[in-house]
Point group: C2
Chain length 249, copies 2
């Protein structure tokens, strides 16, 4: 097992709808005097994906309905934002203490349906990509075609956790890799079968990228090199807890 390196990609400019993310990323890779190598994982913050896909909404244009107004009042939030949270979700999981947690249409459980006000611009918010696994796949294909390398792509977002303060970056989409590393059936040094251990390498990669990316400098992407993962196309979709096994509905 070797070392892992996380290389933040500086200098990616403001992204607008229709921008070619692959070019912006490859330009940034070039500025780092880097060449992508087989096995590299390119991590992109969902926000630049959302912007490139036109998933930015002007908050003034949103007309909150009755349910949104009631929930906004209860939790002390902007009713227009809450209206968007409801539109982007299939279910409110918890709303309490000023926190609104939903299951999004993508199947993700997170605060505010993943709607983000930071680094977007005054009066606008970014919604999650409609299908982050597809976004990752599209980006991976273009990057692979232009570089001739076998790559993986992780689209990341910043999520809170139920029993800990703070947040970690997790994968909301991936391509070119299975999100879980399957040790199941393998044995440890004492012959004990590691039945249940399936490390979420996609989430750990997203978190490792965040350590290098930070938040204030606006760097939206990183390359993670040297990680062991299984190639495949299950997507983050395939890692979500099936509702019938969800103990925290």
């Amino acid at each position: 097992m070797g070392r892992i390196e996380v290389i933040p990609l500086a200098g990616i400019p403001e992204v607008s709808e229709g921008d070619d993310l692959a070019s912006l990323i490859l330009d940034a890779v070039g500025r780092e005097s880097l060449a992508l190598a087989d096995g590299d994982v390119v991590v992109v913050k969902h926000k630049i994906v959302s912007k490139a896909e036109g998933r930015v909404v002007s908050i003034d244009a949103v007309e909150p309905g009755r349910k949104a107004r009631a929930l906004a009042k209860k939790e002390g939030k902007d009713p227009r934002l809450v209206e968007l949270m409801l539109r982007e979700s299939v279910r409110v999981v918890r709303a309490s203490h000023g926190v609104i947690i939903t299951r999004t249409k993508q199947g993700l459980v997170c605060a505010n349906s993943g709607i983000d006000q930071s680094n977007v611009g005054k009066g606008s918010v970014a919604l999650l990509p409609v299908d982050p696994d597809r976004s990752a796949r599209n980006l991976r294909r273009v990057l692979e075609k232009r570089t001739g390398r076998r790559l993986a792509v992780v689209v990341s977002d910043t999520f809170g956790r139920p029993w800990r303060l703070g947040q970690t970056d997790v994968a909301i989409g991936c391509s070119g890799m299975l999100p879980l590393l399957r040790y199941a059936g393998k044995k440890d040094r004492f012959g004990y079968r590691l039945r249940v251990t399936e490390p979420s390498v996609a989430d750990e990669i997203a978190g490792a990228a965040e350590l290098a990316i930070g938040k204030l400098n606006g760097m939206p992407a990183a390359v993670v090199r040297g990680v062991e993962y299984d190639r495949g196309e299950g997507g983050v979709k395939g890692m979500l807890m099936p509702p019938e096994r969800d103990l925290f509905r």
Copy 2:
């Protein structure tokens, strides 16, 4: 912002009660032709900490009580293991679908009270360290004394997550660093105040280390270099969700 490197520490031998972890780690660092530098974070899997602290229990010596026997029957588990889970916890958070989630005496919410059967040896299990922040602090102090460097230590464990399959490594103890990076009050590129963003660098560091450590090869430690964090002694304790704000009790 610079690059981050994760260096797994190979060749740490089986650990027994009373072993000097700092020496084992510094020997392994030496074998990597490495010298610890100011700011390096040493990540150790809790299991070697537990073993060094004598937190290994022979499962045959455990006499399950009535509550443990009932819960074990319901969830299809070894009643002696369930007895230990109950002894190590203050509350069962969920028990369903063959999964037992507790709040441990350390305040952690996790499966099986963090009791671990893998890589321990037949008939024995490892309990969590009594106070993982203290374990981290003790190790950090010895490492700093012997190297003359300012270091941080993270004690990690592998936790499941409520809405995703698989696991990630998280920090259960830390020293020499605050587990959360406090952006609160700072502003993003558009002047939007990042009030709520506090990345859990301790957890992301634990996850990054796991990417390099893996599971089967038994490597129990890594060095993470180049991460921005705040020095301090809040410990993982200070990052746990206060019960009154816990929406998933």
